[in-house]
């Protein structure tokens, strides 16, 4: 498991260049271009279970969701950052990508440190030191537990259809 560490204000053009937004939409199309203009080694070297760590305002800029699709497709366990831009945050919820907002953990991390993530327990351990992060609100957990927003929406549609049938 590797931690890929980056700085503040990592925008979505750095995560996935804008020039590909209307030619690459599926996870398989996105994967080779992930972080292309930020870190040329990422797309080749990333492995299932790796963590992306960054500073403040991660995912700022465009509303494109390809970075989230790509992170899910390559098996990123979580993105840990000081803070996230709001559209990226929503996109992650909607795809079921785990985001951890924990400035203390980011500050404590040094190159080569081991990071162990316990999403359900709300804990991340960096070089043996444990940092806690708050759970998501129940409204949001319901989307994640449904397997992402589209499944959540489908359940709602089923419910509406059943309701109409009954009434």
């Amino acid at each position: 498991m590797k931690v890929w560490k980056y700085g503040d204000d990592i925008n979505t053009d750095m995560l996935f260049p804008g020039k590909y937004t209307y030619t690459c939409s599926t996870a398989e199309e996105v994967k080779p271009h992930l972080l292309e203009d930020l870190d040329a080694d990422f797309a080749e070297g990333v492995k299932q279970g790796d963590i992306v760590m960054a500073g403040a305002n991660f995912g700022c800029g465009s509303s494109r969701e390809q970075p989230v699709l790509g992170f899910k497709a390559v098996g990123i366990a979580a993105v840990v950052a000081e803070s996230f831009a709001r559209i990226f945050y929503r996109a992650a919820i909607n795809q079921g990508l785990v985001l951890v907002e924990c400035p203390e953990a980011v500050a404590a991390f040094k190159d080569g440190d081991e990071a162990i993530l316990d999403v359900e327990g709300g804990k991340i351990t960096i070089a043996g030191k444990v940092f806690e992060f708050p759970p998501l609100p129940p409204e949001i957990l319901a989307i994640r537990d449904a397997g992402g927003l589209l499944n959540y929406a489908r359940a709602k549609l089923e419910e509406r259809a059943n309701h109409e049938t009954r009434s």
Binding site: D9, T21, S62, L157
Partner: protein
């Protein structure tokens, strides 16, 4: 305790007497904007659409603008899929290639009004705060779910209050104002927060307000909103939206803010957001003289009639420096028609400008105006990120139409106030 604009509009929409920052509320937006990405969005829900259809055929506003006219077969196929979807489901608000950039089209066609909630699968959806609407961006998956169920959720944001005083000086524009604010607050300074503009907003016309609201996202803001006033009312009447059709919302005088900032408009000067972050804002005196390869006037930030008028004041009867490519990109067909009819576009083209079709292509490096390694573009757009104009080894800097026009003539970054 009084409530902010965001609190009031979200409480009203959720049917609650009041809400507090951090509270999550269900919302049924009046409209959902999507653009070329509509093809990818509907691609996620083909089977669901067959089964349930769209929740409302007047929810979506679809504008083809991002890679228009199509740059290759793949984007052409995407456009075709969108047209087929529009026909099949009777989507009421569809604007094909050439009508304009989505954010300009939404306001120009009267789809955004005071007190309304709109979402869009584009980050610059925050633009309609200019007309006192609550509008913000979402991702493609959320747009897909909205097409099916028509509702989503918002977390009530805390609010920054920005008070404006006085009026902008000649040759200084709303672009200089918003870049100055972003430079102060930072690219993440308003993340998950709303921004309200108060004070002497009447000195800013509607096009200047669009420029400011459009860039709210560049400081991370969920919304950037102006109060409703006679400027708003007159603009909306001009696009066919009557006063009886909307209910403005504004903050209570005793609303609670997390941060309050004051700006003296008369003290704002020309600035440039240097590569590669929008908050890397420098007074023009620090970057004057820097040679430029490309000058870009237009986009959803600065592609309106007053922007081209401002540019023409510097370019009429002059020639663009031979080492500079000047690109002109009107925000809509209506803007193009007006600037053709009043002779502005002719002046700009005679000066050496290359007129591009309305759309977003150059701004995100999709097509047209892509830069080569080592090149420097001075642009009126809203983003200067690394790689943004299609090349990671090129540089883009952001400025006002006045500054870009003056610089195009000189061939180097020029303070528009110093041009005689």
């Amino acid at each position: 305790m009084g409530q902010t604009f965001a609190q009031k509009i979200l409480a009203k929409a959720a049917g609650l007497p009041s809400v507090v920052p951090g509270q999550i509320v269900p919302i049924r937006p009046a409209h959902l904007l999507t653009h070329d990405n509509t093809s990818a969005i509907i691609g996620k829900i083909n089977d669901d659409l067959e089964k349930y259809g769209v929740v409302r055929n007047d929810l979506s506003i679809i504008v083809l603008d991002h890679v228009t006219p199509a740059a290759n077969e793949k984007t052409a196929i995407g456009h075709k899929a969108v047209r087929e979807f529009v026909d099949k489901y009777g989507i009421k608000n569809f604007y094909d290639v050439g009508v304009g950039i989505c954010h300009q089209v939404v306001v120009e066609k009267g789809h955004a009004a005071p007190g309304m909630i709109l979402v869009g699968s584009d980050s610059h959806t925050c633009s309609y705060g200019a007309v006192n609407a609550f509008s913000t961006g979402v991702d493609r998956t959320e747009a897909a779910a909205l097409m099916l169920v028509g509702e989503t959720w918002f977390k009530v944001p805390p609010t920054i209050r920005i008070s404006l005083k006085g009026a902008l000086k000649p040759r200084v524009s709303a672009k200089d104002l918003i870049l100055t604010i972003i430079g102060d607050i930072g690219a993440g300074g308003a993340t998950y927060q709303a921004v309200e503009f108060h004070g002497d907003v009447a000195s800013l016309d509607m096009e200047q307000r669009f420029t400011v609201a459009n860039m709210g996202i560049e400081m991370g803001a969920k919304i950037a909103v102006f109060p409703f006033d006679t400027v708003t009312e007159e603009y909306l009447a001009s696009v066919g939206v009557a006063r009886s059709e909307y209910e403005p919302v504004w903050a209570d005088p005793d609303a609670e803010y997390i941060r309050e900032l004051d700006y003296d408009l008369g003290a704002i000067g020309p600035v440039v957001a240097m590569p590669h972050k929008v908050d890397n804002v420098k007074p023009i005196s620090e970057v004057e003289g820097r040679p430029i390869d490309q000058a870009f006037i237009g986009t959803c930030t600065n592609g309106r009639v007053s922007d081209f008028h401002a540019a023409a004041a510097f370019l009429e009867g002059k020639k663009v420096d031979p080492r500079v490519r000047l690109l002109l990109l009107p925000a809509s067909r209506a803007v193009l028609e007006t600037t053709l009819a009043d002779g502005t576009m002719e002046k700009l083209v005679r000066a050496g400008g290359v007129l591009l079709p309305t759309g977003c292509g150059p701004c995100l490096g999709a097509h047209q105006g892509v830069l080569a390694p080592g090149e420097f573009c001075l642009s009126t757009a809203n983003r200067n990120f690394k790689g943004r104009m299609g090349c990671k080894d090129a540089e883009t800097a952001l400025a006002s139409p006045e500054t870009v026009a003056a610089s195009a003539v000189a061939g180097r970054v020029t303070d528009p106030r110093k041009v005689s």
